[in-house]
Every structure is written in structure tokens, then in C-alpha cells.
Symmetry: C2
DNA sequence: TCGTGTGAAGTACTTCACAGCC
DNA sequence: GGCTGTGAAGTACTTCACACGA
């Protein structure tokens, strides 16, 4: 189904980050093997990943940092504004809201929501925290592209439904829960509810990360090589 | 190289979480198709993932929740204590330290480290924050299995090196940086430095997650199906 | 009969080798 | 000469179909 591997997209994000770093160091040229080393993958992989989206280099020369950076920004859709709401403004939600780097690519936090009365009305990062019940109404008057979900696990599904109802196009879910699209079962096979159609969910689960880490510490041979070889 | 897919391990963690949830609901039996639906994967996948590690079910009956849970806990290495230090005790580090659920499986935070003088000496979650320079000495007197890295990106590589020098077996890296093992190049091909040999690095990168989300919102057809079908 | 466990088939991803162009 | 771009080969993962045991 996926003509471009999901893993390739993750790597593209890494290449972009490396290019930004090179730019701050006033390095204007790079190559697939240089990028490969910095990203911890093979040079073949770098060239193949880039080839999914175009031809950005010059044979015999390599890549020009600002050009490749510009192209990756375009490919990833980071040359446009993304309006974001955060649902759940506890410690994690606030850490996310204040984490530097989000605004580098026009990710703008436009609304913060929580059910905790102690938080509603407070100022966080220049925004007033609103009650989650106001989310739907808020999106009628404001453009919202994506929602970050940082509520406790037991409220994650309901909060995700609220975001879907509010019409966001994507959810970045930090809760250790599998978000389920609502299904309608009128007789026939299960059909996904309208508000979920085409909605993208991406998960960031650090509890899962620590459990994977535990597993791989005990079974290091099962971990794919950390830094694959470059070609001869 | 990997005889067990990395993705399978992530799914096992998800199955385990589902089993815990079933247990709290006093549901004592399940099946590959039930788990599949809750995890958002196919029932084939569930059976194959479990088969990598053993035969935990009963033909014609399915799985017994507490038994399968116990087996997954054992497989993932969660029936032992894991002593964790956190390097970087800013907003993100504190959110991690206080996130509920880590202690469910004997993950114990034994030390917190930062370079910020305003934080050193403070109490966070019952622990006194120490200066990162003390990390090496700390591990001489205390068992430390893994380190969580929540420092700003520009300090991530150095902090990772400090964790490696301190002898941790794994690093959970929250910084948007590719951690590089130190290499010695005495004449021959690059060789990985001793302290990095066998050290596992797992990344949790939420900035990357938001960029991937942006990409998939613009290119939804490239996202692998959210909830694959069950078998007939 | 039902649902697991598993070799075999199919698909997706990665690695390779080299043609092509600077 | 050097490094990119890319079809082809190889490998890894997923899906399938059915044998097996309760």
C-alpha cells in the first residue's frame, strides 16, 4: 500500500535536522556518505530515500546544503503554517508547549485545553488554558490543523474523540493507549465514522520506549546494527 | 540480522498494555483476533509475534489473560528491577520523572543529574538533583542500568558520552539528535570505543513526530492502513 | 468445531552494482 | 575521477492457508 516506506519519512526528518546543523556551521556542501554517517544509516539508503522525491544532487559533486534543505522542507510540508492545540496541560503537556524548536517550522500553538479546574484560566506560554468542553466551539472560530494529546491514559480515547469531532486532521498521541476510530455498525461491515475518515494518528510513547530498551539490553543481538557500513 | 522484527517488539509492548487493561476489567480470556482489534493490527500478526517467543495459547480456546501477561512480562525483561538515571531535569526531564506508570514494572529512578546550578540541590520526586559531573562517581557506588537523556540538543552528545563512560547499558534519548558512538581510528577501519560496545540507544523524538504528522496529513495515502482487517 | 501455531507465499524494504553526468 | 540516481537482486517482514490439538 505504501509506495514510500514509513521509515524513509523518519529518516528524511533526520536528514533535514542534519542539514540545519550543517547550515549553522557554514558548511554548504555535503554528500550521501556524509549524511549517512551523521544519520547512522547507509549511503545507499540516503540516496534511495531522496530519490523517492526527486533528484536534488549533482553527480560527481554531492548536494548543496541550502538547496537540499529547502527541498526537504517542501517535501515534508514544513513550508506552511500548522496550527496546533494541546489537550492535556499537565507536566507533560506544558513541557511540550515550552519545548524549543517547534516554532522553527511554523508550528504554532493556538490553544491549550484541560479539564482540571486548577489549570483552566491559567496562562501557559502566553495562552490561556481553556476547558476541554470548549474545544469544539474553539475550532469553529479558529483554524486548527492538529492536536497533541497529553492527557492521562484513561481519558485519551475520549479526548481523541473530541479532537476528531473538532475536525483536526491529525493527532499526535502521547498517551500509552491505542486510539480507536469510532465505527458505525449498521448491519454491514464496520464502517469508520465520518470525523475519523482520513484522520492521521501518530504515537509518541515513552513508556513503550523504556520497555523496548529493557528488552534490547537483554537481547542486544536482536537490535539492528547501530551504524551500518558505508559503501566501499 | 534481526531474526525478530523490531516492529514485533513494539507490538508486544502494546499487547502487554492491553492485557493489563483486560485484567483490570476482570476479563480473563482473550484471542488473537480480540487482541488484534484492540491493538489495531491483524490477528495473523498477533499470532506470529507471539510465536517468536513460544506457544502461549490453547487451540480452540484462545489465551488466558494472566498467563499471557506473565509470559510477555518475562519475554520483555520486565520481571526484574531496572535502575534509571535521568540526565537533564528541565521541564521535560521532570515530566518524565513524574509520569505515572514507570514504576509499574520495577523501573526505579535512582539519580537525577543536571548542569544548571539553579536545579542542582533541588528535590524532584524525592531525589536530590546532582551535577552531571558527579555521574561517573555516582555509578561507582550505585547500580545503574539505563540513562534517560533529556538535555538540550546541543548537549546531548556530551551527555550521552558521560552516560556511556558511566557504564550504563542503554540510553533512552529524548533529544532531537543522532547519538554517535565514539570511534577510535588507529590506522585501520573505525572501531567503536569500548564504553559504547553493546550499548543500546533508543530514541523518542517528538519534534520528529510532529513533522511526520505534518507529512502524513498532506499525504494520507502513504500512511499504512490504521486498522487492518481481521481474517474471515 | 474453534482458534492457535507455522511453513509457504507474497509483498515491502534495503542493499547492491553500475550507468550516467558533472 | 567522483558521486548521484536507479533498475535489479537480495533480504526481511507480513499475510496467508491449513494442519493440529482442545
Amino acid at each position: 500500500m505504501a509506495e514510500i516506506p514509513t521509515a524513509a519519512i523518519s529518516r528524511l526528518v533526520t536528514y533535514l535536522r542534519i542539514l540545519e546543523q550543517l547550515e549553522t556551521q557554514d558548511i554548504s556542501r555535503t554528500s550521501s556518505s556524509d549524511l549517512a554517517e551523521r544519520a547512522g544509516v547507509s549511503a545507499f539508503q540516503v540516496r534511495k530515500d531522496l530519490a523517492y522525491f526527486g533528484r536534488f544532487g549533482t553527480r560527481g559533486m554531492g548536494y548543496t546544503v541550502p538547496i537540499l534543505k529547502r527541498e526537504l522542507v517542501r517535501v515534508l510540508g514544513l513550508n506552511q503554517t500548522w496550527n496546533v492545540v494541546i489537550v492535556g496541560v499537565g507536566r507533560l503537556g506544558q513541557a511540550i508547549a515550552n519545548y524549543p524548536g517547534a516554532s522553527d517550522y511554523q508550528f504554532q500553538y493556538v490553544g491549550l485545553f484541560d479539564v482540571n479546574p486548577a489549570l483552566v484560566g491559567q496562562q501557559v506560554r502566553g495562552l490561556t488554558v481553556r476547558h476541554t468542553d470548549e474545544l469544539r466551539d474553539f475550532t469553529r472560530h479558529n483554524t486548527v490543523d492538529m492536536g497533541f494529546l497529553a492527557v492521562p491514559p484513561e481519558h485519551a480515547q475520549d479526548a481523541a474523540q473530541a479532537l476528531a469531532d473538532a475536525g483536526v486532521k491529525g493527532i499526535l498521541n502521547f498517551a500509552p493507549v491505542v486510539i480507536q476510530p469510532r465505527t458505525l455498525e449498521r448491519g454491514g461491515p464496520q464502517e469508520i465514522s465520518d470525523e475519523w475518515r482520513g484522520l492521521i494518528v501518530e504515537n509518541i510513547d515513552f513508556l513503550a520506549g523504556m520497555k523496548r530498551l529493557a528488552f534490547y539490553i537483554l537481547n542486544p543481538h536482536l537490535k539492528d546494527a547501530p551504524t551500518p557500513e558505508d559503501p566501499a
